[in-house]
Amino acid sequence: MFEYMGKEIFAKFGLPVPQGRMITDPAEAATVAAEIGKPAVIKSQVLSGKRGKAGGIKFADTPEQAAAAAKEIFGMTIQGLPVERLLVEEKLKIDKELYMSITIDGAAKMPVLIASAHGGMDIEEVDEEFIIKQHIDPELGMQPFIARDVVRRMGIPLSGPHGKELVKIVQTLYKIFIQKDAELVEINPLVFSDDKVIAADSKVTIDDDALFRQKDLPYVEERSATEKAAKDLGLSFVDLEGNIAVMANGAGITMGTLDTLQYYGGAAANFLDCGGGTGREATAKALELLIAKNPKSMIINIFGGITRCDQVALAFKDINESVGFNCPVVIRLVGTNQDEGRAILASIGIEAFDFMAEAAEKAVKLAAANV
């Protein structure tokens, strides 16, 4: 989710954000800067950190300067991502930068709030002694006393305006985290600006698995076209750097296949977990995705449980007869309906392997030979 989207959510929950708004036309920058009526900052909206270092954040004292800065940033490419949106907002007077986030601690099985009076940099770069970690009992929730104690531990006086505002911000941030099914809500920096406390940046990540009940949230596609196509088939796909296409059934065995390829000196072009119980048609479509990547060889590694070997073999046959394979293919096929599956493969002259290691070694050799 882009910074401006997170800030829109923050604002909706009453969390203080700088005055301003997002534009998709750099020509609007002057108008927004004039509306603000103060020095402005123009921030490229891309899903990457390090925007500042890449020149994607500029300041402007006048609407004219804002227009010039917007023109300069718009269309830039930051870490491969084109800048198509800008956030124009008031330039804050920054007296102090803090850090605050809530995320999920898988080991503790509960949310954890991380806060520091030292913000503005990556939290990993902050000395451990200045980092406050507070787990939140999911059945108790974020009670006011927890928020107060976090602020106290940050070393901010509770009696002052900043302390009082921070106590509210902690509670609001948790409310957003819960109500929006977030995996992460982060404010860095959270700034003291005179008596105010303002979220100068925002990072909000929503749990993909909860999108079905968060339909009003803006959704930003972060996947490659192939990843998205696989997702639409209900499969899990990740682009990798190597040249051997991989399909296996199950996340663990797919990783294991990748590792085995590496062991034999190869490198996978992708991670493709075709899951459990995927049928003939979806499997065929998944194979097409792999072919489109022009790999040097391909390994199909199936340990059939719910997945039926005959369905995989039929999908292979379908593709072989329609688009055809553009590289040598190695198949390892064991488990449910193994004999039927192998018979189908045999009918088109393919012999399946019994063991994963053998199959992987062969796939590496074939890729190396395919120059």
Binding site: K109, D209, G250, G252, F303, F355
Partner: protein, 289 residues
């Protein structure tokens, strides 16, 4: 003996009338699992594979002793189903469903903790006490009785390794799937402790993967164990920042790396296999077979 479930475990299937629920009810019955009841709200009174279906877990409990349940309910209703089982006092809840919102997982795990229930999953293949009881979705044929306890985050990789074990003449006491999500009900340590105390288990296989710090934490306990442990960690070749299929399988901010896990396990006295098929040999070596 075995851990968590055995031949006397009475099992309830939640979402029994759905496609998955019906299919796996048959598979589990074929394995010998004592499935005594199912639930499907509004379909109480139906019979699936000879097993009575009830409208609620409580109704099932009015008619049967239920020791464990398995959840095949779609992701949107999984939290409710798991809470229902826990609330009714079911001691073991196996949540097979994938794609459960992580906030729901947090809630069900918290309630399970409060009520003292064991939750496996979400996103687990389940659990098999070989030859006695299978709850979940693994293929029936690879799981045979024997001395090796297996605990894993991933399904098919487990079948692969269990297949290797069985082919090498090493059966399994219990094979436990913890689930591939970031928040799951049971940790490696929970299961390792049970294996350590289980007379049937002579050695343990821990099948981990990149992401999180479950293997590192487990290593602290492994140091104290009397039984040998063989590890296998998937994801050595995975690049940082990429989620490898499982929600939990990601190297983030330099944490959860393959190397870190292997080092922790090795330092704890476990042997770590480089490839899955090496696991049985290492077990035999450590057992002096």
């Amino acid at each position: 003996m075995a851990i968590i479930i055995n031949e006397n475990t009475n099992v309830l299937v939640m979402g029994m009338t759905g496609k998955q629920g019906t299919f796996h009810t048959k598979q589990m019955l074929d394995y010998g699992t004592k499935i005594v009841a199912g639930t499907s709200p509004g379909k109480g009174g139906a019979i699936v594979e000879g097993v009575p279906v009830y409208n609620s877990v409580r109704e099932a409990c009015e008619n049967h002793r239920i020791d464990a349940s398995v959840v095949f309910v779609p992701a949107g209703g999984t939290k409710d189903a798991a809470l229902e089982s826990i609330d009714a006092g079911v001691g073991v809840v196996v949540v097979v469903t994938e794609g459960v919102p992580v906030h729901d997982e947090i809630q069900m795990v918290a309630y399970a903790k409060r009520k003292g229930a064991i939750v496996l999953g979400p996103n687990t293949f389940g659990i098999v006490s070989s030859g006695k009881c299978k709850i979940g979705i693994p293929p029936n044929k690879y799981f045979v009785e024997g001395p090796v306890g297996v605990v894993a985050r991933s399904g098919t990789l487990t079948y692969e390794i269990v297949g290797n074990l069985t082919a090498s003449g090493l059966g399994q006491s219990t094979v436990v799937g913890m689930g591939g999500d970031r928040v799951v009900g049971t940790t490696f340590i929970d299961v390792l402790k049970m294996f350590e105390e289980d007379p049937l288990t002579k050695a343990v296989v821990l099948i981990g993967e990149i992401g999180g710090n479950a293997e590192e934490t487990a290593s602290e306990y492994i140091k104290t164990m009397s039984k040998p442990v063989v590890g296998y960690i998937a994801g050595k070749s995975a690049p940082p920042g990429k989620r490898m299929g499982h929600a939990g399988a990601i190297i983030e901010r330099g944490k959860g790396t393959f190397q870190g896990k292997v080092e922790a396990l090795t330092a704890a006295g476990a042997k770590v296999a480089t490839l899955p098929f090496e696991v049985p040999g290492l077990i035999k070596e450590m057992l002096g077979m």
